[in-house]
Each structure stands twice: as structure tokens, then as C-alpha cells.
Symmetry: C2
Subunit: 788 residues, 2 copies
């Protein structure tokens, strides 16, 4: 079921649900998820049910699941890692007299939920008439603290309306709550049905604590709650606990207009090492700290944190309120996924659902980190530190595969490879260059070399070694990468994927340069000048196939001579659900930007004419069956002058979850596509590129955007870019030196902190006419000025 | 544990085990398996245990098993089929006084088992002293009747030696006997642990019958036994039955020299359709028929059947007793696997074990049927009829894959695709051409056009249609097959595999010609002259890549420019157990003859020089990690003049199971390699080719073979070919006309039934020196004259 505009109106700083539609419950739980990168709470209703998918997650708290193979092969991972739903502390059940508050019974007279992107809260206001006719108003506000990593809190207010009611609130911690069946494999279902083994529970009158442990992965977790209760008149508060349940019960009577207010503080902690008492104490201290701050203190700190973020990160889109809302929604969730992840992974779905088993992919380094590097570099650095912390596992994996260096996993939670389909997993070696180049981008953009010294150099060296053992020179001295899979998962295990070869060459060159910058450390890591010379030579000799007759780059060797896909036949999207790989792989049909992504990330390797011709060629063959495509198509369509088409793609990337375009928002949000909304606007209409180590901009707006204003961090500066249809104004803030030389429309331009610099937009005419897309895969038309 | 020469001496017409080695028990059970293609009994000891793998199989009697995928894809089969161990009727337990005869206790004073290749029996003689010191001789003979399809029988004789003993024999039918655990997947193990659901049981004094049904596949089976007992003095015979057990107990006393003789008749039947009473009656009638023939009658018929077979099929190898024994052993098992299969599959392991889940592969049409077509054409025709009977399933599979025509399964029992790894399953499209060309070979060799009319034409047409929808013409009009896997499973999902392209072209041409022969039927099947013209055009335009610089055919497009495998590194064979596919696929390392097989099966498409250069190139890169390689390498090494190397390969193909070269003979025999022993001798040293519709021979013997004599059926003739180092004598028998024109050493030669024709061997000098193999993969040196 598509999420419509009416249910969630377009507003600049919030996402608001105006009526409760049970068919959209699971999607709204994802949209309204709160997280700080450490704790994730899906937007489940306070009372626990109805629900689409109940979910409380702790970053990197996982269970081991078997990976079954009907025909196994050497090097296939035997066990996977899967995120588990941990102890649910969101639950506050309400009884009005003797009837439970449940939106499926009685009458919901009024309903509104608001995700406030500046306050960092999810609030809910509802008015309910019980089957017996008693009316109450319920107002709850929930936050996951961005400043206190282990803390979430809920303010829950019940008000009697027409007559006296007896009100009972049961505030709970529930472990091993029932889940919808998610796997057809009974062994996997068994692992996930009751993932938590009880270890310990304790309580006071108004607080409780549950300790559990996973069976397979052996991780221990603690969930604790404490309450402040505020009500006129007599109130009784009791708490009882069992292995999988802690319940604080609050009973009182309310006359019309009187309110019961409960603040529930929640704290979570987990560890693979620390003892049960140490972990319990840690969580106890966290909850004490939260009570010390108090509800208002938490609210204030949350808003301060976000004010600071938006000041550096906000994108203003005048004339397109949809994109305005969506890009902020996307940035907010990207921040939530990463803010306090602190050397843990940023999963493909953040901590918003169980999609992809909670795994992190190349999405992190390829799509999320570019945004964070420009807007919240400390979070980008932490994510890169996480990746570097898995280097030893990646080296073990490489050794298992008879390769040198490090082979990072295609999908993982803790660092071990969890991909059970190697043609679109292990063979997608590009993940290693994506990771290496994210370190390089971080260094170039922030000017911070300390991360390279700390861990980036090792990653660059070990990935370079991987490429050298994967590639080989043919009898003509040309360097090839065979049997690789690029980003496009409809074409796999090929020779010389252009994206992979360019990224690998970039990885090799960056590694060689990093070794030159750190001669002593690299010598300690066994790198000789012969080795770095070999890296440079391979990078220079890397084959980049080009089809001279068509004037386009084949996505890989021979791609442009494969059979064309017959889109006129009864093609049903996404193709992967209706066509076998054995048919898709040898055809010119593309799941997602691949060669086109190469043109964004390795922009310097293509001429303007090649870019125009390649966009024209691949637009006709790209199904966009992946959520990682629209943003890239937006960027490159903008570059070659198809600005309206680019705007359509930007809209699609931005709306993926707000409109549930891929019909799987219920399983969690698409972090990379949400980040891609920023990328579509900033790299697309702003023309941001950095692949040559220079801040390069070349803005052009589509008709539907009057003015675009965005902020970037570059080295020690903050740069504000304000674009309209005629000119662009660059404003330089901060920075130790007074000037910064950037590239504007391929010419050098020196900015100064003294005054803004305004220059004209470089006119941009497309070389080729607007290309068509595969029938049925035209981009979702953006709505103009909020109207369809 | 390797099977040594000492345990199984080399003898021309039998395989004899001279001592009981419990470590070789499982292997001996496979070697001593008896079958008629309908019933298969592993060579388990009469008393049931110890055993390696207890096994009783009925052709195509299978259970459904789940095929699990950690990451599933469209078109992956969800359920597989697996052979089940049916009711075991081989068991005759013996008690000597009160002690059970068990070779692990007491003393085995003497032991011998003999598989007699002319009698078609497995006999056993043993002398045993019980722990209490009582001695008996046991002599059993077992057969699975080649003339009475549902019947097996056992003669069991116990003789007292030094003193009086009380002898008890329990003759049993045991359903759901315990099996060693074979799958790590608990669901699969569960399916196979107790595969048979009891339906009915009944008995008389000396006979019993058990009826069972499989749960998932819903097949019903009946096993029945009856006994004749012959003993001096008093004997008591009783029978009792339960759901999973029927037991006839015979008790008597024997004085020294006295014997108890029991003949146990066994009958089996199964059906997916027939009612329980109908099936029971059918099996009852079979057992009555067997009793009517009697033990001696069954023995005599068995020998007559085999005499007839050997008269048309025997290969005599003077000077090489190992190959002599092995080629007869191989022919015997190929006959056993096919003789009475009667429109059921010939599995890769026959009915000798559970290896490969009991599935049939391209092995059948590619390796087994060529032998049967020349030696037992009625069995070849029956196997082809089975394949044709699955055509509708193959058409459904093609439709599921968005293809026209028919896509036969890579592995199956009943016809549905059971392959869970598509890169080496579905993508191995060549199986379709292998099947189609087996029909064509049958027609050419036998001259019998009735099978084509009956079903072959439809198979040719539907496979041609498959190729047309798989292939495409590029912008230069060249026809390509992309994303295919050839025979070599270390290289997959490639462009223009030479083997596949040649076979597909052959398939297309054969289909077009067949339609010309059957214009009316083909019109009824919707074939127009435009369609057949398109088949011919595609066949003519099929791309056959050739590396002009190296003067060799790349196995597929680009193969000769892939990285070389580093065999000097610590390479452990078979590579598939120690290296991931992601590394194997993009390297010049080959599991099994692929391009080299193309040169055998499509001999006319290569010049002599190309053959020599290709053999030289691929010998250096072929690991022979598949059992389907040595025989082909033997054939092509012989053709290019490396006769001693060819002899080594012939020896290896022949010895695969007799010496357990692949360390998995325990799971069943390698039918294709056993057939390959014949092929290595007849197509290798005899030079037999038939790919141009002409019987073509060009014999050359290696030093280690003095004389090679083999028999072929060709059209209505029987041809005997007797080769020595100087000349060859062709003897023509039967046939309505008096002459047959064959090709001898590329020249026409007319044979006559009047007198043998003797011509000289054409001298043969290798163009290139002897090529090396990958280190550690030199062929197992044949032993000369029976000595190492």
C-alpha cells in the first residue's frame, strides 16, 4: 500500500501523521523510528499493539543464524549474523476503568503523530472513547537521546475528559516479544523466536532491570527503566518482575481535566566481555544520569544537538516543498543512524527495522559517509574506525580465499562475511575500494590526516594488496580484473567492470600516495618502494573498455554486445522477482547505476561527451530495481544537462520511504537512498565533486527549484552555497586562513572569509536529447508545488 | 583409504575380494552392488552388519527434500528429489547355537566374495568360528535378475563342520533401517531418517509382504519374500510381521557335513498410481514367477542374458590385464544400471549408492548412452524414451525461465530441476544439446528411425527452440551464447563456450534435418520452414572463438587471456574443496575436459593441427578434479599421437572405482567413468568417431597393449575390430546387405560379410612433444603386466 500525501502532509520540519491507518502501521513504525546509532526504537504505538513489526535494537547486538546451502562450496560462510529484537521498553499500557486502551476498539476521535526534525522527538496526541464511553486524551513524547548514548525516555500524559475515570498504566520491559514469522527456514525461525536467554532481573518500587544473553553469539544485554510519576491525588505504584517481563503499575483516579504524567527513563547496555554486575552498574549509572538531567534537560540537550547539526548540514529547497521535507527527513535519519554509533556499523537500514538482517553493506562508505563527511565528519570518522577495526577479519577472509591483503565482507554486522550468494557478494570486490576511498575522501574533505595515521593507512595498504592479487597483466601488459561483479547486480562475474577497475586504480594510487606520506609506518607494514611502484603501474595499466563504434563505455568488457532485454514483453518489476539470474546476467539490462556511478565517483576519468553518451545509453537500460540508483541518475542527468529528469530522480530518491516506493519500508528505512536525497541535490544541482582532491562545484537548478541553499564543511571551513537560476553565492565561514580556492564550473575560484563571492551560473546545454527509460520505469514524476 | 591390488586381484572375468577389510566395507558394497536398472542392492553382508551404507534402491522411487537457500532467487527449485533406501530384503541373520554370526566377533577363518561378470552373481564363501568355538561354513549367492525385472534372489547355505550345531536363520524384510547421517540440514535428515510410512503387512508360514508409502512424494512400494528350505532332519519355519519388519525364522540342527540351504526370493514393485491391492498382487505374481523358474532357472537365464550381452559388447585387451578386468567391470555395471531401467533414469551412480542424491545428469546421454548405443541399443532407446517422457516438465521449466522450447534439468530423478546452484546447473545449458544429440547418435548408429518418430523429433525441435531463445546475433551478424557454463565447472557463466556453441549448432542442424525428414509431424508441432531456416542460419553464424596468436581455441571467449593458475603454490586437489569459485572461475584452471571434449564429440570442427595444439594447451591446465575427464583426455591424447599418455588416462578412467581414486566410491560407482573405460579404449585406441554419421575408425595401440578386440553394432551389422600394432582386421557379421562402407584412417573402406578385411595401421606421429600436466595431476601410471 502506497503512502499517500494526504496521510503525511508536506511540511518543512516535521513528518506528521494525521490519521491512524492500520494498513500503514508497519511503514509508519519505520518512518517514526528514533535512534542515536546505538539504540533504535521503531515507532510502535506506546501500548504495544496493534503493531506491524515490534522493534528495539542495539547496534551490533546480534545473534548467529545458520546459512543453509543445498549445494555448498568452499569459502561460503556457514553462519550469518542477524539483528535481534531486544527487550522492549517502549510499552506503556493504559486501562481506562477496566478497559484496555486499544485503537482497534472504542473510538479514536483524534489522532496525530509528529516526528519533529529539530526537536528530535516523536510525539503523539490522541483522544479515545472507550467501548464503555469513557473519554481520555493521551499525549506521549518519545526520544532517544543524542547526548546520552544509553538513554531513551518517554513522557506519557493521560487526561480525563468528561467524567471521572480510574486510570491504570502498566509500564513494561518485555523480552522475547512475539514476532511475525520472517524466515521460511525453521532453524532460522527457531533462533529468532526467543533470542534472549534470561540471566537476571531486579526491581525497586518504580524501577526494574532485566539482564539477558544471546545463546549463539554470547552477548549480554541489560535493559532498565525508572519512572517519575506526577498526578493530583492518591496514586499507587508497584513494580514486579519475572524472567522476561518487568512491569511498573501506576493506578490513580482522574477527574475531568486532571492529568497523570509519567516520565519513563530507559537505559540499555550490552557487552561481549563485561560481567553481569559491571554491565548492570553501567546501565544503572546511565539511568541515574538521565534522571539527573530530567525530562526537560533531555529535551533541551536534544534540541541543542540538532540545532548544531542543522547549522552545518541543512539544505534549503525553495520552490519544492516535497524535496525540502524529504531531504531533511533523510538527513535526520542518517544522523540518527550514525550520531552515536561510535565504532559500530551503520547498517543499510540503520536501526529502524530488521531488513537485510541488520547488515551493513557498501552503502555505508559509498552513500552515507559522503554526506556525513561534509555534514558531520566526526560520525564519518567513527564509522571508518569501525570498518578499520574489522581489518583483521578481512585479512583472514582474504587468506581463506587465497588472496593477499584484506577482503572486506559484502554484508556483515560484526565484520565476518555473511553473504550467502557469492556472485553478488564476494565477487563484488568493489566494496574494498569503496571503503578505501572513503578514508581518502575523509582525508581530502576534512583535511584531517590523523585518521589515516590511526588506521586508514593500513586499510589502504591491505586493500591495495587485495587488488594486486586479484588482478593480472595479460600478454600485452594490460591489467585486468576478471570474475568481478560491479554495483549492478543484474550483471555479474564479468571481466573489467569499468566502475571496479577505476575504483581499484584509485585505491592503488591512493595507497601508494599514503605510503609516501607515511614512509616509516608503511615500511613497518612491510611495504617496499617496489610494492608501491607495482601498485601505480597496475593502476596505470588497468583496462577501461570503450566501445568505439557506439562511443560509449561498456559497463564491462563486452557488455554492449550482449543481447538487449525485451522490455516490450510482459516485463514485471522488480525483475529479480520475476526473472532468473541466468537470464538477467547475459542481457543488457541493469538493476542500478554502475557505469553511471563510475562517472560520478571517478568524474575525471570521463570526457563531457562520454558522459553525455553514456548517460543516454544507460538510461535506456536501467530498471532502477535497486534503491541505490535514483540518486546517482539524478547526479549524472544533472551533469549532462537533463535537469528536469534529474529533478524527477532526486524526487524519487528522496521519497523512497516517505511514499514507500519500493514497498518494503515496513522492514526499515533505506539509509543510502535517504542520504542520496542530499547527494541528488548537492552533487546533482550543486555539482559537487571531490574526486581530484579539490572542492569542485558547478550548480544548475531545474525549473521547479527557485533557490537551493546548502552547507558543507571543507577542511577547517564551513561553506554555504546559495544557488538560483542566474548565479551562485559562496559564503566562507570559520577556517584559520582567510581564503579557499575551489573549482567553480571547471575554473579556479578563490573564496574569502571576508565577504561572500557571487558568480554566474555556467550555461549548460545537453549534448543529446532527453533519453527514454525502460517502459514502466520512467521516474516517478515529482509533484510541482505540492500539487499532483 | 585406497583399494589395493592385493585385496582385489586382477582377473579377467570377476572381481574377487580375498579378505574382509572393514575399512573398505563401504567401497566393497558399491563395487559388489547388483542391479538390473530397476532394483539395486548394495553389496551389504547378508547378516546386515557391519555395514558402510545399507542400501536397497528402486529406480525413480524417491522422496522430496527441501532445498534451502540463505539467499533465494527467482527460478531456484524449492524442492529436490532424493533416492531413498527402501525395504531391505537382503538380510539373513544366522545364529550358531546362541551366538549371532558377526564378522566382528569370533574368528573369520576364511573369506572370499566374488562378483562374477558372466554369471551375474555375487557369491560369498566364509568359514567362521563362533566365540564359543563352533565352526560353520556359509556360502551365499545373490542375484538381481536381468530377465525378471522385479526379482532378486539369494541362495544361502550353512554347513556345520566339526560338531553338531543348532542353526537359526532369520530372513528379513526391514523397512526404515538406520542410516549414517548424510546431511547437515536437520530438515533433510528428518525427511530421510524414516522415509517409509507403513501401509500394510501380511504373511504366510514362509513368506511375507510389506507395503509402505513415502510421505512427500506419495509413492507406494511393496517388498515381498518367499523361501525354499532344504535341510536333512527336522526344521521349523515360522514367519511374523510388523509394520517395518517381516521375519521368517528357520531353525534346525546340523551334524558335521550337513547343510541348511535356503533360497530366498525377493520381489519389489512401486507405483505412484496403482492401488495397494493391485500393487501387492503384481509383486505376489512376480514372486510366484520366480519360484516357478526356481533358483537354477534364474541362474541359467542370468548367464544366458549376459552371454548374449558379452557377445555384442566385450572388449578384449591383451597385454593389459588391469584394463581388461576394469573395462568388463565397467560394462557390467553400465549394463546393470540400464538393462531393465525401462523408461526410467540412469542415475550418475546407477543404483549403487546415494551419491548425488540418486540424480541423473548429462552423464547419461553424454557418457553412458554412447556405450549402450553400440553395445545394447535397446537399453539406450529406453533411456532416451525416459528423457523424452520428461519433455513437458522441461517445457514448463523453460517457460518459467522466460525461454522458448524445453530446458531439461541439470540433475533430477523424475524430471524436475533439482539443481540448487544455477551457475553450474541451469547455466549448463549444454545438457539440452547432449540429450538432443544422443537421439541423433542413436538414429545414426542404429539406423532405427522409429524412436525419432516416436519422441526424438519433439525433443530435437524443443531443444532447438531453446537455443534460439538463448542465443542472439550481435551487430555484425555473429551468433552468441552468453552466460553459459560448459562442461568445465571451474569456469562458469561465460560467453561462447566452444563446446556449447558447437553442440548447440549441431542440435539446431539436426533438428532442421529431422523436420525435413518428418515434414507433416513437424508442421503439426508448429514448425515452419522459416523456423528451420533460422535454426540453420544461427548454427552457421555461431561464434567459435579462436586465439590466432596462440593457435588454440579458447575454451570460451577470452579464456586464454585469463590469469594463469599458480600451480606451484600449495595447491591441494580437488581444488573445489580448497579454493572458492570466485577464484577458480576467472583463472585458466580446468576441472574437466571441455574444449577437449568438444574435439571428441564434434571432431569434424577441428583440424589435426588445432587438435594437437589444443590438447597441448589444455593438458597443462586440466586438474581432472571431475571423474568425467580422464576418459576424454585418453581419447584425444590418443588421437594426437600421445598413445602412452592416453593409456595412462584410460587406466585411470577404468580404475576409478576398483581403486577408489576419487575417495567416494563408498557413495556409489561412477557410471560415466566406468562407461568411459570402454570409450577410452574404443574411441581412444580404436579411434571410433560418429559425429558425421559415418562409422569412422582409426586404431592405434600403445606399447602396453598387444591386441585390442572390440565389438560394435552399426545399423544392422555387428562389427568386430581386432587391432594389433601393425594392422587391424574388421569382421562384419549379420546385416541384410553384404557390405558396409566405413571410414578407416580418414579413407573410405568397404567391409563385407563374406570375409574379414585387414588393413594396415596408419602411422601416427605426434605434432608436438608430450605435454606436462599440472604438478600433482599427472595421470595415475598404469601398472604394466599387473605389476607396479
Amino acid at each position: 500500500m502506497m503512502i499517500t500525501h494526504e496521510a503525511f502532509p508536506v511540511e518543512p520540519w516535521q513528518v506528521r501523521e494525521t490519521r491512524l491507518d492500520l494498513d500503514l502501521l508497519a511503514q509508519s513504525e519505520s518512518l517514526f523510528a528514533l535512534s542515536n546509532g546505538h539504540i533504535g526504537l521503531r515507532g510502535n504505538l506506546d501500548e504495544g499493539e496493534p503493531h506491524g513489526l515490534p522493534g528495539t535494537y542495539l547496534n551490533s547486538f546480534y545473534e548467529i543464524r545458520p546459512l543453509p546451502y543445498a549445494e555448498a562450496g568452499y569459502g561460503y560462510p556457514e553462519a550469518g549474523q542477524t539483528v535481534v529484537d531486544v527487550t522492549n521498553g517502549k510499552i506503556l499500557r493504559l486501562l481506562v476503568d477496566d478497559e484496555p486502551f486499544d485503537v482497534r476498539y472504542g473510538n479514536v476521535i483524534d489522532h496525530e503523530r509528529v516526528l519533529d526534525l529539530r526537536a528530535g522527538t516523536l510525539s503523539r496526541r490522541t483522544q479515545w472513547r472507550s467501548p464503555a464511553g469513557k473519554q481520555v486524551k493521551v499525549h506521549s513524547t518519545r526520544l532517544v537521546s543524542l547526548t546520552q548514548r544509553s538513554i531513551a525516555a518517554i513522557e506519557y500524559v493521560v487526561e480525563a475528559l468528561d467524567e471521572f475515570v480510574r486510570v491504570t498504566v502498566q509500564s513494561e520491559l518485555v523480552a522475547n516479544e512475539d514476532q511475525p514469522e520472517t524466515s521460511g527456514d525453521p532453524r532460522v525461525a527457531a533462533v529468532l523466536r526467543k533470542p534472549l536467554e534470561p540471566v537476571h532481573h531486579e526491581q525497586t518500587d518504580h524501577s526494574a532491570l532485566l539482564v539477558h544473553r544471546t545463546r549463539g553469539s554470547g552477548l549480554m544485554m541489560v535493559a532498565a527503566m525508572d519512572h517519575e510519576v506526577d498526578v493530583p491525588g492518591r496514586v499507587e505504584i508497584t513494580t514486579d518482575t519475572a524472567e522476561d517481563l518487568a512491569r511498573t503499575t501506576v493506578i490513580c483516579g482522574l477527574r475531568p481535566g486532571q492529568r497523570l504524567r509519567i516520565v519513563k527513563y530507559l537505559a540499555y547496555g550490552w557487552s561481549s566481555l563485561r560481567s553481569r554486575p559491571a554491565l548492570s552498574d553501567q546501565v544503572g549509572a546511565a539511568i541515574t544520569g538521565a534522571r539527573y538531567s530530567g525530562w526537560q534537560g533531555l529535551l533541551d540537550a536534544q534540541r541543542d544537538y540538532l540545532d548544531e547539526f542543522w547549522d552545518c548540514a541543512d539544505v534549503e529547497v525553495e520552490g519544492d516543498p516535497d524535496c525540502q521535507q524529504a531531504v531533511r527527513f533523510g538527513l535526520f535519519h542518517v544522523l540518527q543512524a550514525s550520531a552515536r554509533a561510535e565504532r559500530r556499523a551503520i547498517p543499510g537500514k540503520g536501526l529502524t527495522g530488521t531488513g537485510y538482517d541488520g547488515h551493513a553493506f557498501w552503502d555505508t562508505e559509498g552513500f552515507v559517509l559522503p554526506v556525513l563527511t561534509y555534514t558531520k565528519p566526526s560520525a564519518a570518522a567513527d564509522a571508518l574506525r569501525w570498518r578499520a577495526s574489522t581489518l583483521d577479519l578481512a585479512k583472514e577472509r582474504a587468506a581463506q580465499l587465497d588472496l593477499k591483503g584484506a577482503a572486506f565482507p559484502w554484508r556483515t554486522i560484526r565484520g565476518e562475511e555473511c553473504s550467502a550468494y557469492w556472485p553478488a557478494g564476494t565477487a563484488a570486490w568493489h566494496v574494498n575500494a569503496d571503503i578505501a576511498m572513503a578514508f581518502e575522501r575523509y582525508r581530502q574533505v576534512t583535511g584531517d590526516h590523523s585518521l589515516e595515521r590511526e588506521c586508514g593507512l593500513r586499510v589502504l595498504i591491505e586493500t591495495a594488496r587485495l587488488w594486486m592479487s586479484l588482478g593480472h597483466h595479460d600478454r600485452y601488459g594490460v591489467w585486468h580484473l576478471d570474475g568481478v561483479t560491479g554495483p549492478d547486480e543484474y550483471t555479474a562475474v564479468v571481466r573489467d567492470n569499468v566502475f571496479t577497475n577505476l575504483m581499484a586504480a584509485g585505491n592503488l594510487r591512493a595507497a601508494a600516495e599514503a605510503c609516501t606520506r607515511h614512509p616509516e609506518t608503511s615500511r613497518e607494514l612491510g611495504v617496499s618502494t617496489e610494492e608501491t611502484a607495482a601498485w601505480r603501474d597496475a593502476a596505470d595499466a588497468a583496462h577501461i573498455p570503450f566501445d568505439e563504434e557506439l562511443g560509449v563505455h561498456p559497463q564491462n568488457d563486452g557488455f554492449t554486445t550482449l543481447r538487449e532485454w525485451d522490455f516490450t514483453a510482459n516485463t514485471v518489476y522488480p525483475l529479480l522477482l520475476h526473472e532468473p539470474y541466468v537470464r538477467l546476467y547475459p542481457a543488457q539490462v541493469i538493476k542500478q547505476a554502475d557505469l553511471v556511478l563510475a562517472m560520478q565517483w571517478q568524474s575525471h576519468a570521463f570526457t563531457a561527451e562520454q558522459k553525455a553518451r553514456n548517460v543516454d545509453y544507460y538510461e535506456r537500460r536501467t530498471t532502477r530495481d535497486s534503491s541505490l540508483s535514483a540518486c546517482t541518475q539524478a547526479v549524472m542527468c544533472a551533469e549532462v544537462g537533463h535537469l528536469e529528469l534529474a529533478h524527477d530522480y532526486a524526487y524519487e530518491a528522496a521519497m523512497i520511504d516517505l511514499r514507500d516506493l519500493h514497498h518494503n519500508t515496513r522492514d526499515g528505512l533505506h539509509m543510502a537512498s535517504l542520504a542520496g536525497a542530499w547527494t541528488a541535490l548537492v552533487a546533482g544541482f550543486g555539482g559537487l565533486r571531490d574526486d581530484e582532491g579539490v572542492l569542485s562545484l558547478n550548480p544548475h537548478l531545474p525549473g521547479g527549484i527557485r533557490c537551493l541553499r546548502f552547507r558543507l564543511r571543507w577542511r577547517d571551513f564551513r561553506v554555504t552555497v546559495q544557488v538560483n537560476h542566474d548565479d551562485v553565492t559562496y559564503t566562507l565561514r570559520d577556517g584559520p586562513h582567510g581564503t579557499l580556492t575551489i573549482r567553480h564550473a571547471d575554473r579556479e575560484l578563490t573564496l574569502t572569509t571576508q565577504a561572500p563571492t557571487t558568480v554566474s551560473i555556467e550555461p549548460c546545454k545537453p549534448l543529446l536529447p532527453l533519453p527514454p527509460q525502460p517502459p514502466g520505469r520512467e521516474p516517478l514524476r515529482r509533484r510541482v508545488d505540492g500539487k499532483d
